[in-house]
């Protein structure tokens, strides 16, 4: 036990004395959180809108006003013809054009044509949906406070039976904040990267320097060497996990709806899984560079592309869906979304947790089995 402790202590000293690496390890989560939270956002805000005034009526006025009042759209210009509006969009001066025409079949006798810059189809889709919902508001309410566009009072409740539309209500994330989506994703990515990369590099470094030979020749059990090397990184991963959770809650205002206990338990399983992966990599890699490349390329790419972090798994080709079924972060991210954002109980993420646990046990078994007590 004493040997074990002194081993952990030595490993911790390695980590603590390498100031630059520490800085990156803690700087990276903070940076990523801030970037995704404030800079890279998929939320709709301040869409530059140009209104065509070829046809005007009090109704169009009211609708445009409503649009301008919302924080989603900014009316930057009014032009006389649709051609001019199109030119503005083509010249990157505006993102969206609104063209009212009188022959519509709606209750207010209006029909709107929306012209959108479709370079980013996802964003274009969102703008259109937002604009549609605002424009199709019942006109009667003169002093109408703009609602969240997708959360309308049911038309029946308003007693405006003349129109039929779909009322959409967003659960869990009423403001459509993208932070809700990416915080679990960042957790999944970073924990995997840090645990797998750091353990594999630190083990391979000992090999490279010839220290592993000495450690192996000592009476200490090789298994203990490996576990002792993993423990400080386990703690480091926890520190990072907590940093992310704190930032998510206090800086990005993401609710921790579910039980913190279960969030930590599932994270622990996931961290152990990542550590086993790192161990496996260290068995294959002969140099630190190879270890780095293996963990960065082989782990990071599938995590980003296939875990559902950026692209929904459901819309992938079937073959890729199969591949993504063995990407562990997929289940972790899924479980975290459910636990953190939806606040469901552990019973509802049982499937994900079981899959993660099985994967962890499997990887750990393979990694320990493959670990060499001799060289080669």
């Amino acid at each position: 036990m004493k040997t074990f402790l002194s081993f952990i202590l030595k490993e911790a000293k390695h980590i603590l004395r390498d100031k630059r690496t520490m800085l990156i390890l803690f700087g990276m989560p903070v940076m990523l959180m801030l970037l995704f939270g404030f800079a890279i956002t998929t939320d709709v805000k301040n869409v530059r809108t140009v209104v065509v005034t070829s046809f005007q009526s009090p109704q169009t006025q009211a609708a445009v006003e409503r649009l301008a009042q919302s924080e989603y759209f900014t009316i930057t210009q009014t032009v006389a013809t649709p051609q001019e509006a199109e030119r503005l969009i083509r010249n990157q001066k505006a993102d969206m054009g609104l063209i009212p025409s009188p022959k519509g079949g709606g209750s207010d006798g209006l029909q709107w044509q929306i012209m959108v810059d479709g370079c980013d189809p996802n964003m274009a889709q969102q703008w259109t949906t937002y604009a549609q919902s605002i424009l199709s508001q019942p006109i009667d309410a003169k002093h109408y406070t703009p609602p969240s566009p997708l959360e309308f009072p049911s038309p029946l409740g308003e007693g405006l039976g003349a129109r039929s539309w779909l009322g959409v209500r967003l659960l869990y994330n009423p403001q459509m904040r993208s932070a809700y989506n990416f915080v679990p994703a960042i957790m999944g990515m970073l924990l995997m990267l840090i645990c797998a990369m750091m353990t594999s590099i630190s083990i391979v470094r000992e090999k490279e320097r010839g220290n592993m030979e000495v450690l192996l020749v000592s009476p200490v059990r090789p298994l203990m060497v490996i576990i002792a090397k993993a423990v400080p990184y386990l703690m480091l991963a926890f520190a990072i996990l907590i940093t992310i959770l704190l930032m998510a809650h206090y800086v990005l205002a993401v609710p921790l709806a579910g039980s913190l206990f279960w969030i930590l338990v599932v994270s622990t399983i996931y961290i152990i899984l990542a550590l086993s992966l790192g161990l496996l990599i260290s068995n294959i890699a002969k140099t630190q560079l190879v270890a780095l490349l293996l963990s960065a390329m082989v782990l990071l790419m599938p995590v980003v592309m296939l875990s559902g972090m950026m692209f929904p798994v459901e819309s992938m080709p079937v073959v890729l869906q199969w591949v993504s079924a063995v990407v562990p972060p997929r289940y972790y991210i899924e479980a975290m979304r459910k636990l953190m954002i939806m606040g469901v109980g552990i019973g509802d993420v049982a499937k994900e947790v079981i899959i993660l646990t099985v994967m962890t046990l499997l990887l750990l078994a393979v990694a320990l089995k493959k670990f060499n007590v001799r060289l080669e």
Partner: protein, 485 residues
């Protein structure tokens, strides 16, 4: 009972027969030397005896235990210092020792007696990071770490490579002291003076045990390899113009004067040996001469250019070869030559013509398109040297060019140096091999940043009443007061 018994051990890596039917035994308390050139199979043998590798055939016993079936017993009883073992650079001296003590289930206090002689020398630096120690001190610390659990057998894989002669002597004094405590030692070394201090030695060559016995007997038996005929002394250069001339050169890092007021000149065509213990300031001085570093004060010229202002010109007119970097291993011989010739701006036609000439001279024609990585170390060194003088520089700087090869290969290397000097290229060389120092026209010995002695080897031996340069060097280097070594 024998401490080490090896019976018909063979080991093969792919096409390479690393060990071929090796058998020998070592008595308890013996200091057993393992000698042979790089790639002879020494490291493989160590690893098999330390249970790190399984032999393909044969059996071996360490302290009476089978290295194949009784791994744990063997691992409790051996101390092992691999060649590239480098401690933990970011832990302090004491932390390193403490860690290895607990690793072997003991403490520094318990094991202190076994390491007292060695550790007491470095104990005053116990709070210093291992990475900041000099080569000699690192080896002492590594040895302390390997000894702290009082092993009964100690395996040392070239423990003194890259360590200066004074520290080497001290290290071996300590090893011989261990013999009194009945610790069996198996060590390998490229240095003949160390070979002679062993009780018995075995000569390993291409994986085969070629000879075993008293050091002098084995060295005599393989005289061609270990003690090649002394080179005829190179005719001292005629008193032509000085090609390197330095006066009152100082390089200070803060208050520490790495190079402290040195002055000397080197004549054209001379072979100048630049000696000094680790940390004496050799490398810093070389860096200033080659334009890599600016002097704090003092002046100097190299091939007629000022070292403080015209270092770009200097770089074009000198050659440089160091032990650490020689050639790109993943390029072929021809590609390496073309690359370096290109760096110095040689014409393509001229490169091809000179390359053929060079390869012919080195008898390398067949290997023109071989990867450098696949060549033996001695060949690489010769090739690296030839490449460094390929552009006909005025001076070539060689920084410990012959580490890790056997005396015969070093001898061939020096023949190459002599030819170069004959062609009028000045050779400025540092080395830890004192027999090589004897081959130089003139040598200087640096101690604590100052040049303590300069002159021909004969002059110095007379002046200090020593039989050889080794004696002169040890005498001077022992006066060093610098704490870094």
């Amino acid at each position: 009972m024998y401490a080490i018994e090896v019976k018909n051990v063979s080991k093969r890596y792919g096409a390479v027969q690393a060990l071929d039917d090796v058998s020998f035994s070592v008595k308890k308390g013996e200091v057993f030397g393992l000698i042979g050139p790089d790639g002879a199979g020494k490291t493989t043998l160590y690893r098999i005896l330390c249970t790190l590798l399984l032999p393909d055939a044969g059996s071996s016993f360490v302290d009476g235990f089978d290295v194949m079936s009784q791994m744990h017993e063997v691992r409790k009883r051996v101390g092992y210092m691999p060649g590239k073992f480098s401690l933990y650079q970011d832990l302090t001296v004491e932390e390193n020792l403490k860690f290895f003590a607990t690793l072997f289930g003991t403490t520094i206090d318990e094991g202190y007696d076994s390491i007292r002689a060695i550790y007491s020398q470095i104990e005053r630096f116990k709070d210093r990071r291992a990475g900041a120690l000099s080569g000699g001190m690192k080896q002492k610390l590594a040895l302390s770490c390997a000894l702290v659990h009082s092993p009964s057998v100690l395996f040392l894989d070239e423990p003194t490579t890259g360590v200066d002669p004074v520290s080497r002597k001290e290290l071996w004094d300590m090893l011989l002291m261990l013999r009194e405590r009945d610790i069996t030692i198996m060590a390998s070394t490229p240095y003949l003076d160390e070979v002679r201090r062993c009780d018995r030695v075995a000569f390993l060559h291409h994986g085969k045990m070629e000879g075993i016995g008293k050091p002098d007997v084995v060295l005599e038996q393989f005289r061609d390899i270990f003690m090649p005929e002394a080179l005829p002394l190179h005719g001292s250069a005629e008193g032509g113009s000085p090609i390197i001339s330095v006066s009152h050169l100082v390089k200070a890092f803060g208050s520490f004067h790495a190079v402290d007021d040195i002055s000397f000149t080197v004549q054209k065509g001379e072979i100048f040996g630049f000696l000094g213990a680790n940390g004496a300031g050799k490398t810093t001085a070389m860096h200033m001469l080659t334009g890599l570093n600016q002097p704090t004060s003092g002046t100097g010229t190299v091939v007629g250019y000022d070292i403080s202002t015209e270092y770009e010109q200097i770089k074009k007119h000198i050659g440089y070869m160091s032990q650490k970097f020689s050639l790109y291993e993943d390029l072929t011989v021809a590609e390496n030559i073309r690359l370096f010739a290109g760096i110095y701006g040689m014409k393509k036609k001229e490169v091809e013509r000179k390359m053929d000439e060079l390869l012919h001279q080195l008898k390398f024609e067949k290997h023109k398109n071989d990867l450098v990585g696949s060549l033996p170390l001695g060949w690489k060194q010769k090739l690296a040297f030839s490449v460094s003088i390929f552009h006909e520089p005025g001076v070539v700087f060689l920084d410990e060019p012959t580490g890790g090869v056997d005396p015969a290969t070093r001898h061939q290397f020096w023949e190459l140096i002599y030819e170069t000097a004959q062609r009028g290229i000045t050779v400025f060389v540092t080395t830890h091999y004192m027999d090589e120092a004897e081959y130089c026209d003139r040598i200087s010995i640096m101690v604590d940043g100052k040049i303590k002695a300069i002159g021909t080897p004969e002059e110095l031996k007379k002046e200090y009443h020593q039989p050889d340069i080794d004696g002169v060097f040890t005498l001077l280097a022992r006066q060093a007061t610098r704490s870094s070594d």
